[in-house]
Amino acid sequence: MKKITAGQAGVLMFLSFCSSKFLTMPSAISAMVGRDIWVVATFAFILETIPIYFILKFMQKYPDKNLKQVLEKMTGKILTKIIIIFYAITFFIKLVILSKEIHNFLIDALYDRVTWDLYLIPVLLIMGYVTFLGLRSICRTSQIFIYVIVFALIVACSIGLMSADITNTLPIMQNGFGVVFHGTIKHLFNFSDSIILLIFLGNVKPEPKMAKKIGFGIGSAMIITIIFYIIFNAVYDNLSLGNRQGIANIAQFIPNISSVLRLDWFTTIIWIVVVLLKFSTLMYCVYVCLLDSFGLKNNGYVLIGIGVAVYLISIIPTLNIELTAKIFYSTPFTIMGLVQYVIPYAFSIFLIIMKKDQKKLKRNKINGLLISEACKNV
């Protein structure tokens, strides 16, 4: 497989982190915690930083080991299969949710009516093809768009700032820490994009500043998300709940030039690119997990299978946005959100074991050398 550079990994992580967090999430979090959207995001990111640290540390130390190899060494073959299938399911659910989110985003921000049954087919075909081209291709495509995306984010935030009232974000944790904590745990599944990093294991070209570059991408995404949430809250306050498409809604606040030019269209179109890139990233994650768990090599049929499954689930008419939200905030999903971090945390233990093993190996080598020297002397 063609490896990606640390810079590319950083860019893709940036996009993956930002994408869906700028759509329905601020409104959904607001429904639970009121004006403390950004506090929830901050807590979730703090929680996420620890596994990210371990994964990056591991990546830097063992750049050639992929997830399957690491898990086999840590847990054995059978458990590895189970864990990878768990991640495949996790990524698949994220993919289906994203497909639903894209649908809602298009209806809310761009179209009067979207026949998603028809629209989803070209989306799946093209993004499936992009996925089939590989991680390098997804990363390179992301690299081309990154400047425009950052520009769109700056535009959106600047437009929001024009009408923002910072007092709307105060007081912090008005409803108490419990509510914020509950909101954080409930949304952990949606925040947990760092697990995409697990798929990058063994696929990033080793370089001295690898961890820093990827970390920079993730860190910037976290900071920009928090800033965006603060602005969103400052603009909408109690109306946050009703503004379901963060990036599209916030960009409508441009008082003077809307009769000449509407900048919200620009940010909306750019955001379609972002979500599509995340769509293919998640598709790739599911694909790789399935290949690894069934011991397959590159196989287009697996991708077709994933596409068909996403399509069938996405077009179930009863699975509307309310039901999706209900399922999404149910206890199994909350548990799933927590469980997916178990492996990254286990990396820390594995790093210590590996370190001990290496020390032992080194000591044995030295002892062996000493013994052979002694034998020679005798």
Binding site: L110, Y129, V130, R140, I269, L276, S280
Partner: protein
């Protein structure tokens, strides 16, 4: 060895070998009044004056040379031709005759002397019509490979300019030269090109475009995978960046490999003027290409799906303009695109004196009347005309831009903005996955190559471009010491 030492037999062999063609001349004469000799050539390819003045008359002037020494004597003392060769095989000799050489056969000798005396008419060195520059050199390549090499040699005064010669084409026996700067180029590229050239099996090479097809890694792609230019200054600068140039005899267009997309945005004049101007012009070119690609698609999708995107006053103006048009926006747009392309194609092929008439018919009568009669709307005409014109801000990329424009218009008509975005992602993902001879096609943007960005949309000053662009693999990165 030749078939026989006897002149009569050799004459028959050559005559049969060249099928007694009408322009075959076998001029017989006696050397020192006793030894029979014959000069064989095609009078349509050689310089007749040179033959009379510098070969036949000089040989006829010979006196008192022994028969056994005659071949060596003529070779060393009589003929002043700088490209004299001794030929030992008939087949080789016939090939040489066909490329404008004269073969001197001497009775009793099993070898012949080949003299390079090509004398056909050549087009003089002129400014290439498709790449005119207001500032900068005005020379362009011609159809003669020797002149083209000399144009390069004059600019690259270094023994490191390597030229490898090949012959391709069963019937055309076209000379091809692979040129590169040995101390800069990545040898893997040269190896790969030579391998591909050696594998070519074709009856004839008429133009460098034939070779291009064999060298391009993706045969089904609409995108260019090799660069080309008629300007020696452009080819020289590309050689200095580590590319390989392929010159084909009979073609003024020189191919360069590897190719990266950014080359189509660059123009020789960018390097001969002020940097600020170059940056401005390149940005305009980039915006022009965006217009040409997306404008019809955006127009169609706005009218079909996203009319809310247009500010109210503009929306009313457009609504008034399209009111009563019998065609839907999609059909209307395609109708104008096809009409525009027909006019363009006709104006290219039409005799020059009819060109003026065509522009009147096309521009005024068809355009004006189509609007006045209510067949097409002014906004659609403006959109398509603007997009059609802006394609030529990057003329080298025009063929692929045209196809992509149609593709984006279809996607826009089918899915609106989502379709256009899907199309963009598809094209970029496909291109970003493609490496042309080790060079990333979308470099320096994907992957991100900082040194390459010095000469992308923004162009650094020449003195500040101290490194060769890493987008093109090379073995010597340093440009200025």
């Amino acid at each position: 060895m030749l078939n026989s030492k006897k002149l009569e037999i050799n004459k028959i062999v050559f005559s049969n070998g060249l099928n007694n063609c009408p322009d075959l001349i076998m001029r017989e004469f006696k050397i020192c009044k006793k030894i029979s000799a014959c000069l064989v050539y095609l009078n349509t390819l050689v310089d007749a004056d040179y033959i009379n003045r510098d070969i036949i008359s000089k040989i006829l002037d010979l006196k008192d040379v022994k028969k056994k020494d005659i071949f060596k004597y003529i070779k060393e003392n009589v003929i002043s031709n700088s490209e004299l060769k001794v030929v030992e095989l008939e087949s080789h000799a016939i090939d040489l005759i066909l490329t404008g050489n004269a073969i001197l056969l001497i009775d009793g000798e099993d070898k012949a002397i080949a003299l390079s005396i090509q004398g056909w008419k050549l087009r003089p060195i002129q400014e290439p019509p498709n790449s005119v520059a207001i500032k900068g050199p005005r020379e362009g390549f011609t159809e003669d490979i020797k002149i083209n090499i000399s144009l390069l040699r004059r600019r690259l005064v270094t023994p490191d300019l390597y030229i490898e010669e090949k012959t391709v084409g069963k019937y055309t026996k076209t000379k091809i030269c692979v040129c590169y700067i040995n101390t800069i180029v990545d040898k893997e590229i040269v190896k790969e090109i030579n391998k591909k050239l050696n594998e070519i099996s074709i009856d004839g090479i008429i133009d460098s475009a034939y070779i291009q097809e064999f060298l391009e890694p993706l045969n089904d792609s609409i995108f260019k995978q090799s660069g080309s230019s008629e300007r020696p200054d452009v080819i020289t600068s590309r050689l200095l960046e580590g590319r390989v140039a392929i010159l084909v005899d009979g073609s003024p267009v020189v191919i360069t490999i590897p190719f990266v997309l950014i080359e189509d945005f660059q123009n020789p004049e960018d390097y001969y003027g002020k940097t600020a101007r170059a940056i401005f012009v390149r940005s305009i070119r980039f915006i022009g290409i965006m217009f040409s690609l997306f404008l019809p698609g955006i127009y169609v999708s706005v009218l079909l799906y996203h009319y809310r995107v247009i500010p109210l006053r503009l929306l009313i103006t457009i609504a008034n303009a399209i009111e009563g048009i019998p065609m839907t926006p999609v059909i209307e747009t395609f109708f104008i695109i096809i009409l525009f392309e027909i006019l363009y194609e006709a104006s290219l092929r039409m005799p020059k004196y009819l060109g003026m008439a065509l522009s009147i018919v096309g521009g005024i009568i068809i355009g004006d009347m189509a609007i006045k009669s209510g067949i097409v709307s002014p906004p659609a005409l403006i959109v398509v005309a603007l997009s059609g014109l802006t394609i030529y801000t990057a003329p080298d990329a025009a063929p692929q831009l045209f196809i992509m424009r149609i593709g984006f218009t279809i996607m826009g008509a089918m899915l609106g903005f989502l379709g256009i975005v899907l199309g963009i992602v598809f094209v970029l993902a496909r291109l970003s996955n493609f490496d042309s001879y080790g060079a990333a096609y979308l470099g320096p943007w994907a992957p991100n190559i900082p040194s390459g960005k010095n000469d992308a949309i923004v162009k650094a000053k020449t003195k500040n471009m101290s490194e060769r662009p890493e987008s093109i693999p090379n073995i010597n990165n340093v440009r200025t010491e």
